[in-house]
Symmetry: C2
Subunit: 732 residues, 2 copies
Amino acid sequence: MSKELPASLRPRPQANLRTPLAAAFCPGGTCLLLAMLAVCVPSRADEGMWLYNHPPREAIRDKYGFELTDAWLKHLQLCSVRFGGASGEFVSEEGLILSNHHVGSRALQRLSTKEHNYLRDGFYARTRQEEQPCPGLEVSVLEEIEDVTARVNAAVRPGLADEEAFRARRAILAAIEKESQDKTGLRSEVVTLYQGAEYHLYRYKQYTDIRLVFAPEEQTAFYGGDPDNFEYPRFDLDICLFRAYEKGHPAKIEHYLKWSRNGPADHELVFVSGHPGRTDRLRTVGELEYLRDWEYPRTLQRLNRLEVLYDAYSARSAENTRRARNDLFGVRNSRKAREGALAGLLDAKLMQAGRASEEKLRASVRTLVESGKLGAGASPAQVEQAWERIAQAQQAIAQRAVEYELLEQGAGFNSVLFRYARSLLRSAVERSKPDGVRLEEYQEAGRASFEHELFAENPVYEDLETLKLTDSLTSLAGNGRYNQPVVRKALSGLSPHERAFTAVHGTKLASPAKRRELYEGGLQALDEAHDPMIELARQVDDEARAVRKEVEARREAIRQAHAQIGKARYALEGANQYPDATGTLRLSYGVVAGYEEDGQHVPFQTTLAGLYQRAAGQNYRPPFDLPERWLANEKKLNLATPFDFVCTADIIGGNSGSPVVNRRGEFVGIIFDGNIQSLVADFLYTEEQARAVCVHSAAIIEALQNLYDAKPLAEELIGRRESLRPETGSQR
Amino acid sequence: MSKELPASLRPRPQANLRTPLAAAFCPGGTCLLLAMLAVCVPSRADEGMWLYNHPPREAIRDKYGFELTDAWLKHLQLCSVRFGGASGEFVSEEGLILSNHHVGSRALQRLSTKEHNYLRDGFYARTRQEEQPCPGLEVSVLEEIEDVTARVNAAVRPGLADEEAFRARRAILAAIEKESQDKTGLRSEVVTLYQGAEYHLYRYKQYTDIRLVFAPEEQTAFYGGDPDNFEYPRFDLDICLFRAYEKGHPAKIEHYLKWSRNGPADHELVFVSGHPGRTDRLRTVGELEYLRDWEYPRTLQRLNRLEVLYDAYSARSAENTRRARNDLFGVRNSRKAREGALAGLLDAKLMQAGRASEEKLRASVRTLVESGKLGAGASPAQVEQAWERIAQAQQAIAQRAVEYELLEQGAGFNSVLFRYARSLLRSAVERSKPDGVRLEEYQEAGRASFEHELFAENPVYEDLETLKLTDSLTSLAGNGRYNQPVVRKALSGLSPHERAFTAVHGTKLASPAKRRELYEGGLQALDEAHDPMIELARQVDDEARAVRKEVEARREAIRQAHAQIGKARYALEGANQYPDATGTLRLSYGVVAGYEEDGQHVPFQTTLAGLYQRAAGQNYRPPFDLPERWLANEKKLNLATPFDFVCTADIIGGNSGSPVVNRRGEFVGIIFDGNIQSLVADFLYTEEQARAVCVHSAAIIEALQNLYDAKPLAEELIGRRESLRPETGSQR
């Protein structure tokens, strides 16, 4: 299927009716009618990233006649793993974890060298001994959830100034986390839900010895590259297999997913269990306008700059391509996603409808407050003015947003070596303070993970780090900032290149042993090191902390205002809602289904045969070429095997690697992308055309058995020892 | 040679001593001494883009013992042609014109179709009949130069307000041009030189029937692509041959360059005659700071965005790659050049030294003014304050710069269809006014060229134009501009995509016949057309004209202030100086010479053998692959033939295609690039490492004869009929 238009050029899908912005997508003059219907007719859309402790039992029972039992839910919860900022799942009792290739790619890149490029060429450990430890990688399983809203609210008394409220909240959250961690030994995190209307404590079991088992070639995993990213139909084997170890042995896993060899049927009900990262569905119109007018354009400027930088560097040699591959992929992926979301925000009809819905909500809230039903603690004036307070705080953040991004979020110091330097410097300072007043990332609850990452062995390429730091310092000095005191300190009278070159070549922080030594030596060791990267981090730290403090106070104001709106909405709508995504475990559901596009039907699944057709149709021109293994062994494959499929489940970035399961809880596929039409999912769910894109369970088995000579692995997945197709599987 | 660092990562070259910024490059503490020496010791550097009517006779006589005679100069002047925004030269008496492939590429792209990709595959017309007319292409030869400074100054009386002065200047320039054109029939343009200290009238002979004769494959012309662009050593056959026709027959040319079969020797004196586009060597430090802090960062943001846009579009298919090729090349080339220039501006030592030199000049000017030597019309206070007035006007321009770029320069409406619409609309309005008060580009002197371009047959790709316009409207609406009245008008309640899609698909302006009809029909025809692209142009025209008017008035103030500084400098330094580049014909000179880099010697020339070595060393990975013709016929070539070489001549963008000639005026090579170290040439000339990069005359003949089966063409160039190497040349 030929697609030459980017996200911004696609026809807009029709929306479902649950969000404030939904009416925007109604055709012609029916908006108002549909918007009014939305109030009284229960949603039939497969919307929602649901909390495991508030699952959509009724909606699923009503629409699909399926009962979500506690046991079913608990099993799926415990099969699901958090994998970096994304998702994965246990798929064998011997600790096998499945995720996407693009989720595992950072680990693959770290394991690769100039001689062994596992990212490009793939990897398969034929024996346990060959399974490769992945330094710095850890996965977590959500074991328990506890509602701690009352305790948090008790500590953050109404009437506190924003900064005091922020400090009080940070202190109580740290105390709750530390107490839980000390008591249970489980990694504990309090998650802010419903914009601050609820706080839940999540306890995780951590696995820190993760080993690589299998990866296909990147060209197969990410077939079609950037042009096909966020598109459908697709032909990608975007998988990667790892194994969790404990005490040197494969972890014994009670809850893992059974494999469905057939995968899903058309229109079958499926569930997705994963870690959606962030949505903005409950934002005010004012906040969306800020995203549209300032944040997205600015972010896209940065992403475009980095894409050109990494692309130009990569073009110089094959080795450069290998070194910058992960940075380039990440930037391209984010850029395309933001372009799609920005195109949605620039649809005036959407924004107008959102404004109308917001007015309506405000009117309902006014009535509610006046009726006294919101209870004590909510002054009518406060709730009424919540929207204004959000707008004001947003405006204040806007004033400092560029500085915050450059100095605190690190856009002005784009180097892993700088991140090491800042982590060492700040952890030494913060560790001398009580836990509750530290910067969040240096609190005790996160210490093990922090150290695990800091001490991990990672390749550092001086040329690439110099290039990145030069570019980001140049950006820091641009747009009239050259003479700002903090920029003068950062450059210290040198050009961006000179400063970057001397810091990268002078620092010792590329060595994990050195980092450990400095970490253990604390402030004195850092002072005595005279390390130029640490000096750079030190020179800009006051300004970075100052802008962070200000932005965090403003965000606290926004959080409180949203919490008030959230409570009012809760009072109006009841528990039948889901919170914006927070990077924590959620349950989505939907059906496997194709869709209509430009008057044509897009079928729900592709086959292996389609891959070969697409490659031939593009004349094998990169990124539509095929790895040698695939070219040479076409005849060994059952080309009718389903390859990728789509479903209506509500997902977003972070769901990558999530398992797709059927009613029996069996693995039928793995999420790896959303189509172009799903890119407005940041702001609203639609199901006319928006789809989650998945690798089919059958394709994984077919490829492992008949292409990758990995029958034992396939058998571990399907849970038996005999081969499915011995007559071809043994020929390689 | 492996080079992994971009422009910003290169060591800085040492400068020569002629410019205000030169002392910046002096090592250690010798700056002051050298800066002082610069005043009394005559320059020995090969610096300068000299006027043909103020040639550097003495400098060349003193340094090289060579006498620039009037006849020698006039011949070279008349052999040189202006080719678009770049350069070329007559190389046969039958109208053959040589330029770069990357200069001719726009014409090649326009001639190409999905079926015949001349840009990628090359082209050779074996007979005159096969030579392909290039619609819209015209070349000019500078025939006469006349100093009209006194006449202009008489019309622009001192004491006029900036806007009045601008109008008065525009009127007198238009009158001079029109009068000259009517009298001589030659295209006449007044060129502002020395920042307004002098005005020269240039008269050009135009050739409008230009036909394509020969082009190599792009992969040979632009070997190494973006990674090797602005690098050296190089292996590029960056040439393209056209023929000028008059009245349907090849033009009979009296002045054309004789061919040197041997090319230049190491350290040989050579001359470059071409059209350098723009330098900023006489800018104040305040102006350079503006470039560094605002203009370059902003321009790079736009270029990065467009590079990602065209790159992503190109990746989708081979046909897309063909369609966007020229846009992508132009953007990449500009981006890399700006990065290099910005890196130079971010060198604090350079800027400090520039500031010191400027202080010194101001002191000298003060003394000069006080002594009364500047003559009447120059009030001491005015001259003294010229720098402040420049800074003030610059600041005022800065306030409107973004708007000017978006609305008037067209960055907000990036489509050739919009440019047609604006041209038609404005020409209809402007033609109703007296010539002297029209916008410059609609004055009678430029009418023939304007119409030639407007009516030329050009392919228009609706998908690409929609994409470009969507992207630029999105950019227009970004950074808080969404609710500005002009942006609301531009979007008219639609999303950027909807607006772009309807305008591109609804307009009739892709048809040259339609454009001619509307041009001839004037305002009424434009009104009645109800063409959506013309409507878009109309909706934003008031605001675009308003911001242009304001910026032009401020520029006039800067021009006047610079003219005063320029006159003072002239009084101090005499005629021994050259003006900043203005896109008009200039003479540069220098020697063929290698240089030292990172402790290694870079030889002055490469050979054909080096090309094959580089391709093999990169494993033939694009952009280091070779066309099939080159792979298959390596043995037919004399691999010892020189390929590319470098010289110290002072060049800048626009010099592409300039002939390099020896003392006898023979063609020894053609400029096609500058190395990384030359990218600071915008601001200052250096010769330690900065080099102009050229194709060698021998490589052109060798390739034509023995690879491209183009012996008749080679013979036309070398001026004889027998082949150089009949034993191999005839085998293909």
